[in-house]
Amino acid sequence: MNNIINLAWLIPVLPLIGFLINGLGRRHLSKSMSGIIGSATILGSFIISLLIFFQVKDGHTANLHYFDLFNIDALRVSFGFKIDQLTSLFLLLITGVGFLIHVYSTSYMHDETAPDFAKYFAFLNLFVFSMLILVMGGNYLIMFFGWEGVGLCSYLLIGYWFKNKDYTKAANKAFIMNRVGDLGFLLGIFWLINKTGTLDYDQVFSAASLSKLSLMDITGITMLLFVGASGKSAQIPLYTWLPDAMAGPTPVSALIHAATMVTAGIYMIVRSNILYTLAPATLWVVAIIGIATAFVAATIATQQDDIKKVLAYSTVSQLGYMFLGLGAADYSGAVFHVITHAFFEALLFLGAGSVIHAMSGEQDMKNMGGLKKPMPVTHITMLIGCIAIAGIPPLSGFFSKDQILASAFAKHWALWGIGVFTAMLTAYYMFRMYGLTFLGKFRGTHEQEHHLHESPAPMTIPLIILAILAAVGGFMGIPEIFVHGGNKLAAFLQPVLAPSLKILEKHPHEISHNTEYMLMGISVAVALAATFFAIMKFRNYQRTQAKGNALITTLKNKWYVDEFYDHAIVHPIKDMSRFFTNTMEKKVIDGGVNGVGKFVHYSSRQLRWIQSGKVGNYIFWMVVGMLVLFIIKLFV
């Protein structure tokens, strides 16, 4: 039993095998075979992850070294894994939710041709592989490998329906915006190498190495790593790729753009928690960016009509909460929200997929309504998801969000204030979505109405499992004021966070129990009020002529951020490119060179007898010259 942790390499290798079989055999595999291979490999990884989790729970962690990735005098980087509490939680999350989404996909993607179906599962398996590498790696470079790998898979899966140019454009946007973050990540890595000479987590976080870093170094490194995190986890100013990424198949949105990949930035910061704890300035930046993202995304979500866009902005907003938690140095709270969010957001996306599936591809909620009756399972599970994300007790979102909000209050009351306001918006837009989709009368075409049906079991069973998790998942982190020692998750993560906690204990931000009850009461009250308001407003929605004011138009247009980026960055680069091509290259540089050419031509006229200005002649004389040299050699 003790050796099971040594099998950790199998966890990423199984999905890799799945990728290779499905990828190479895509012309020969039947759809059911590709589905089984794709899902079974992830199930295998999940089982091993579970066994490892129990071992880790007993206190067995491991650093596994496989081979030297490279070894030069200045730096040695090994290919190895670190299996500890944090990693094992993420392993469960990735393989568990990943497995459910693979099963769901076997049904959701059934209209694809067999080779495309196999391609889909190959990419999905490759994604799981990369994500596992990201969280298992024992140093920053392996993390970066996984980091780029998930970016690649995200690109491939967003552009999965490659015939549609808008989709491939969204895929490019996702990859390129992530590269902006990657540059920050890389520069952070170089800074670390320069100061500490290593990238290995244990060595970087050791007292010896930390003592080599000045406050300036730590602040700079953590800021740069945070730039990377904000790219991958869609934070201001790099969040605009995520809503566009909804072009991919819905299960992909659930797995990559809600449950797992986008939480990589949070993983990275929790992994580096000691560095962040030592950099208070960075923590402030993280908190402010987090709360700003949560707020801005929530405002946009209130005016979106595309069901997936609402969920996309809700994801961005929830990720903002996680960063708020990180900024408040409540690392376990952030991980807690990662987990509960993975449950309810994956549930919501898969539910939305089920709705879209029933609506024959329709995503506009204005054309839905009344789906409660034909789709009972989807309806109930989605409702659970909405309650969970809205932060209404005792579902999971309440516990994790509340822990973050309490920590935010301890840092600064304004962070908490905006956080609660955003929680109100969250409840509003989620129940707006719920009302528009499931309540009232059906507003689509007759053809669509005729086609309405509940999704088959491979789709509803994952929904039910996720709904149960979204409902009860919060009990892993019951606040101390309810049950002493109730926050099992924080206790489990304690070894990973110990160095940070030791520092944080010196400046305690404790808030009194009464204050905590009051904060909790306020946030539940506003969430309930917003829920009630939204249901009242949208339970009988009728299409009306839009008479939006300036604010609503701005929100519908997502604060015009995409337009701003186009004008501030994309267009100038394109203009510059044209200027370089047409003016610099042709007129300025070649103009100068032509001057030389003319000079040569002029000289040739003066020395016409040897130089005709023709290349052939020059070469001829060059060859002659060399032959002469050789001939000289023969005689001397």
Partner: protein, 492 residues
């Protein structure tokens, strides 16, 4: 035993020379097969030499060439030469194999092999005059190949190419003569004494004043900068790439540009260490300008060959910046990247060549939706494109990582500016993939077929190299590590 009777460096130069000269006269009907065989033979010798080089002397050979000038036929296969010759040997079979579906006559292949001979000569010569001789010998076949088998505007392009490189060569020759005149006298075994010597060691010990050294430094620098090329001496390159036959473009971009880099590490840095350090900041700045300028210019290229050309200029700029950052990590990265860039850019050209042959199109605007018709080609294109933008677990990553890391050590702001190119590169490379492969088919692409078995073999070999080196870079690092250590000893 191979390599004892006739040494490796000699073999590497002589084999393509003999095969090339023979091809002018015999075996006209089987010229491509003979050329491929010869290039494989060279690869075999090169592989053998990797394992069996005599470490003590690096298989040095030295014959008297022009006795009264102090010039010798002095060849050496030291760790630096080994990298560049191995790259040349490795890529030539791929380049020749990529021409199999086209109709070229025997002189084409003869010239190709002569170009290989010239390249090999450049990479093994330790005598400055001999180096210059091979430098020109490598170029001449390429002029002919370009002007005889090139595109519509080949004469203009060749002329421009010629003017640029001619100026470069002239300056280098000037530099060589200038340094030569300050070298100590050389006495041969038979007592003949030459007033000066062309050997590398004599050049290193030339008695130049510091002012003279600066002058000579710049003469060499400009010659190599044109060859690489570095902004603003680069405009010959897009034209030459565009107008050359695709296989010649492969030689130009995969190997010829490496002559410039090789010149830096073999001649410029060891001969002028103080000047190199003194001016390094400015050269790195110029390289970074080159990187950003080329990356941005790539965006508005409709002609695919020019797009790849600008992408290559950006890559070379980074290598030049890394060489002049002059720390272990940056040099190590540059030496690895010499390899990876060579492989990846040839991969890009092979992909382009296939597209051009299938559709007749040369421009992005003419193409769309190839993935619908040629999924296998698309997969290889995506693999090579991502290797070109240095995704981890592809061959280019480790080199770029080390180069950026080394430049960072040199100056973090320059590393940041150079680093912007990883975003830009993703931009134009993915735009290329999107434009050519994704979307619906159009008139040009509606009736194409997927790649054939031998094309799969070529691309498969490239892809295998990309992944194997990407996952296990250490052997390549070992191969280049020696060169880096060797270089830093030479520079001190």
């Amino acid at each position: 035993m191979l390599g004892t009777l006739i040494t490796f460096p000699e073999l590497l130069v002589l084999l393509p020379l003999i095969a090339g000269l023979l091809l002018f006269f015999v075996g006209k009907n089987y010229s491509k097969q003979i050329a491929l065989l010869a290039s494989l033979l060279v690869l075999g010798v090169s592989l053998w030499s990797l394992l069996h080089t005599d470490v003590a002397s690096y298989n040095a050979v030295s014959y008297i060439w022009l006795k009264y000038f102090g010039a010798t036929y002095y060849l050496l296969l030291d760790p630096v030469s080994r990298i560049f010759t191995f790259l040349t040997a490795l890529t030539f079979p791929i380049i020749i194999a990529s021409t199999f579906s086209r109709k070229y006559n025997h002189s084409f292949y003869a010239l190709m092999l002569l170009a290989q001979c010239g390249l090999m000569g450049v990479f093994v010569s330790m005598d400055a005059l001999l180096f210059y001789f091979f430098w020109e010998l490598a170029l001449i076949p390429v002029y002919f190949l370009c002007s005889m088998w090139g595109g519509e505007r080949r004469i203009q392009a060749t002329f421009k190419f010629f003017i640029y490189t001619f100026v470069g060569s002239l300056l280098m020759l000037l530099g060589i003569i200038f340094v030569y005149l300050h070298t100590p006298p050389k006495t041969f075994e038979d007592g003949v004494q030459a007033a000066h010597s062309f050997s590398w060691h004599a050049f290193k010990n030339a008695a130049l004043s510091s002012g003279q050294k600066v002058g000579a430094f710049f003469l060499f620098l400009i010659a190599f900068a044109i060859k690489m090329p570095i902004f603003p001496l680069h405009t010959w390159q897009p034209d030459a790439y565009d107008q050359s036959p695709n296989s010649v473009t492969m030689i130009l971009s995969g190997l010829m540009v490496k002559m410039g880099l090789y010149g830096l590490v073999r001649w410029l840095l060891p001969l002028f260490p103080e000047e190199s350090i003194h001016y390094s900041k400015w050269i790195v700045v110029l390289s970074v300008i080159s990187i950003l300028y080329a990356s941005i210019t790539a965006f508005s290229q409709n002609n695919i060959k020019r797009l790849i050309a600008y992408s290559s200029i950006a890559h070379i700029g980074l290598m030049c910046a890394a060489v002049f950052s002059m720390n272990t990590m940056s040099l190590q990265g540059a030496m690895i990247q010499v390899f990876s860039h060579g492989i990846n850019i040839i991969g890009m050209w092979v992909i382009y060549d296939i597209i051009e042959r299938k559709t007749g199109a040369k421009h992005l605007s003419e193409l769309s939706g190839i993935a619908n018709k040629a999924p296998a080609l698309t997969i290889f294109a995506v693999i090579i494109a991502f290797a070109n933008i240095a995704l981890p677990l592809t061959n280019a990553f480790i080199g770029e990582f080390m180069m950026f890391g080394g430049v960072y050590k040199f100056n973090r702001w320059l590393a940041f500016l150079a680093g912007i190119s990883i975003i830009l590169a993703a931009g134009y490379t993915l735009f290329f993939i999107k434009k050519v492969f994704y979307g619906e088919v159009n008139d040009r692409t509606a009736h194409i077929t997927d790649i054939s078995m031998d094309e799969k073999l070529i691309l498969g070999a490239l892809a295998a190299w990309i992944f194997v080196v990407g996952v296990f870079p250490q052997p390549l690092i070992e191969l280049t590590k020696e060169a880096v250590t060797y270089l830093s000893i030479q520079n001190n």
